[in-house]
């Protein structure tokens, strides 16, 4: 069972590559900030309205940011022609996907961690009391985005118009995540916050279903 040790080594490689430059994280954070700012000057929501539409805006911004950010994970290998080397170095190609999706989840969570306090300040929503539940919802949602996004970025990297293609493939597939994460977050932003277990459960089911699909079909995604 060399899958997890292999995946861990590859995850280390993904993280080292990113933290050398941090360009992906910086650009994504700036992108989400701009989206949040533009939204607020377009609609000028009051505090109550922010509670209503804020969660949707937040998840939309995360989804758009992810659809741009995830382009990189296979393109980088393509530019440097390192995908075949990676495939040769592991016995199970699923390790490559697992490492990439773990790294992507981590990157998404880091941007979310950075942006949540800014969002709470700008939109006048208190998050301190529910921060652990938010962490759970953000983790499950971001994991779902990363699983699907990693698989689809392996597809789009092999096509023309790839920058435009990834969002076209990814956004409709992630509708369930968008809807449910938004509703769960909305309940947590409420004046009397509560946990929507059904939604949390749904996110977990989504993640398990697509992780299984990726495990079953992932090796074909990386065929040369």
């Amino acid at each position: 069972m060399s899958l997890f040790p292999n995946a861990l080594v590859l995850l280390g490689k993904e993280l080292r590559t990113e933290f050398r430059s941090r360009e992906l994280l910086t650009t994504t954070v700036v992108f989400i900030l701009i989206v949040m700012f533009m939204f607020s000057i377009t609609f000028q929501p009051t505090s109550d309205e922010s509670r209503q539409i804020g969660p949707g805006l937040l998840w939309l911004a995360f989804l758009f940011a992810a659809s741009l950010m995830l382009q990189h994970c296979f393109l980088r290998e393509q530019h440097n022609d390192t995908l075949s080397a990676l495939r040769l170095s592991v016995s199970d190609p699923f390790a490559i996907l697992l490492a990439k999706l773990a790294a992507n989840t981590l990157f998404l969570l880091l941007t979310e961690l950075f942006l949540l306090p800014i969002f709470a300040l700008m939109y006048n929503v208190s998050v301190v009391r529910v921060v652990h539940w938010l962490a759970l919802a953000f983790f499950l949602g971001s994991l779902g985005i990363s699983i699907v996004g990693t698989a689809l970025s392996a597809i789009s990297a092999q096509a023309r118009m790839r920058e435009l293609l990834l969002p076209v493939l990814m956004l409709p597939l992630l509708t369930p995540i968008l809807i449910v994460s938004t509703e769960v977050t909305k309940a947590l932003f409420d004046r009397a916050p509560y946990v929507r277990w059904q939604g949390i459960g749904f996110l977990a089911v989504f993640d398990v279903v697509f992780l299984t699909a990726l495990w079953l079909f992932g090796e074909y995604l990386l065929e040369e």
Binding site: L152, Q158, R160, P172, T175, P176, V180, G199, F202
Partner: protein
Amino acid sequence: MMKNILAAAAVFLLLGVAVYASFFIAPTDVKQGLIYRILFLHVPSAWTGLTAFFISFLANLLYVWRRQPRWDWLGVSAAEVGLAFTTVVLVTGPIWAHPVWGIWWTWSPRLTSTFVLWLLYVAYVVLRTLIEEPDRRALLSALFGIFAFIDVPLVFGSIRWWRDQHPQPVVMGEPGAGLDPIMYKVLLFSWLAMLALMTLLIRQRYRLEAMRGDLETMQQELEVA
């Protein structure tokens, strides 16, 4: 050639009978009047579209497993035909909704799910146009087709769950609820006719795709030679 013409004639005969039955055999609805008859086009199209997407999903799985081009051809043919039927659903829905609900479109669970389903398969077709190399196109689009079909129950589930929080504008009961027995029979017959049409369309589209496939192989052989 003769076989094709006969098959097409049989399908159109079935469709003709279905049209006749939906206009003259099924009784007029007490509340909605004549407009409800669009149900006999709308509902069977929806069922047929889903059937076609299911066929495409099976073909996608078989392609990934067996790697024979014919499964790729069947996959794309069924997906495109399913897309056509789903488009009919999305067009006939508003035509019915405007006089009955007073609005063309509402983001109710069923409409939203159908729209997302349509978008997923549009993405599938778009993806196929953007990959040149036939084997790679077949494999990658088959994988996307599999992911898309797995997503369908999750889309329906999430949207249904989401509705609990958002009451919709006043909507009349679903037209299928407590359907008159004759209407029900006509509905099932219309579905049968639509399935026949679907089979005919997939078959024709498959032959076209097979010819394209052969042409691509020949072109490649010429380039190598």
